[in-house]
Symmetry: C2
Subunit: 140 residues, 2 copies
DNA sequence: ATTTTTATATCACTAGCTTATGAACCGGCG
DNA sequence: CGCCGGTTCATAAGCTAGTGATATAAAAAT
């Protein structure tokens, strides 16, 4: 049974990939910004593991985000080594804009879907959300 | 409403990204192999548009796949320009292996989910599948 | 006071994409 | 037939975002 789910998810993953505007933000950049938006400022070392990239990659990503004004580096008064990354207002806007683009594309598709399919997807959303929480906890 | 769906999908997309073993195959490579497995040999020009990459990128990808023995280049007897790409047995195995890895990871998560969530996801699968078909048609 | 560990940055390198361009092949038309 | 515009694929050069190895500096441990 789980094989069927995995297969379905696989197809679906491609759908989402296609649905995502190939805009400015890379996958990791977008994901990191969303994390910063969702759960506030983080130290660099708290970001690279859950985002699934190496520490140097996160350093570089933060540098890019900072250069583009989407995030800012701060320091922890209690730990001179730490770098605390915070999302900026422009960063929030970028996330919102990206979400809008995806929503628009998705809406156009959902319209063409039978009402019962639409309903089935809506019904599954909370479950998908909880699935998301599960995986987020475990990989931190 | 669609905003909620898009938001849920966004989270879900990250889940899938995390669930995918960062193994040998790139996203496009895996997606292309699956397409070749699903709907048989294709010309190069029939691949790069639906996969959302430039034609040179597809040429390079096919070269890599060929070098790794996962796909093979053939020619169309009726059109000397065309290159016909076919998945090899090794390619099918690579796809299967990747799917297994994802299934294992997903199963471990699904186990921890309440039964009704599990059921809701299963119930939404056909709808997700049709959504996938929709987008595949439209971007060809 | 050393030593070890932790947090971040830097370096050199690679994969996989892009645009621009080139080369081979097709179909049609004088 | 022979040329010509349009396809199809390949090549070249350059960019982005990743990697592992390693350096540096602060904190923690001995």
């Amino acid at each position: 049974m789980d094989v069927a789910i995995a297969g379905g998810f696989e197809r679906f993953y491609e759908v989402l990939r296609r649905l995502t505007p190939r805009s400015e933000l890379s996958l990791t950049a977008a994901s990191t910004l969303r994390r910063l938006e969702r759960s506030g400022p983080h130290r660099l070392c708290e970001l690279h593991v859950p985002e699934g990239v190496s520490q140097p990659a996160m350093t570089q990503l933060v540098t890019r985000l900072e250069k583009e004004g989407l995030a800012s580096r701060g320091s922890d008064p209690d730990d001179g080594r730490a770098v605390v990354v915070t999302i900026t207002e422009a960063g929030r806007e970028a996330v919102a804009k990206r979400r809008e683009g995806r929503t628009r594309a998705l809406s156009a598709l959902l319209e063409q879907l039978p009402a019962e399919d639409h309903a089935a997807i809506v019904a599954a959303l909370p479950a998908l959300e909880r699935l998301g929480e599960l995986i987020t906890e475990q990989s931190i």
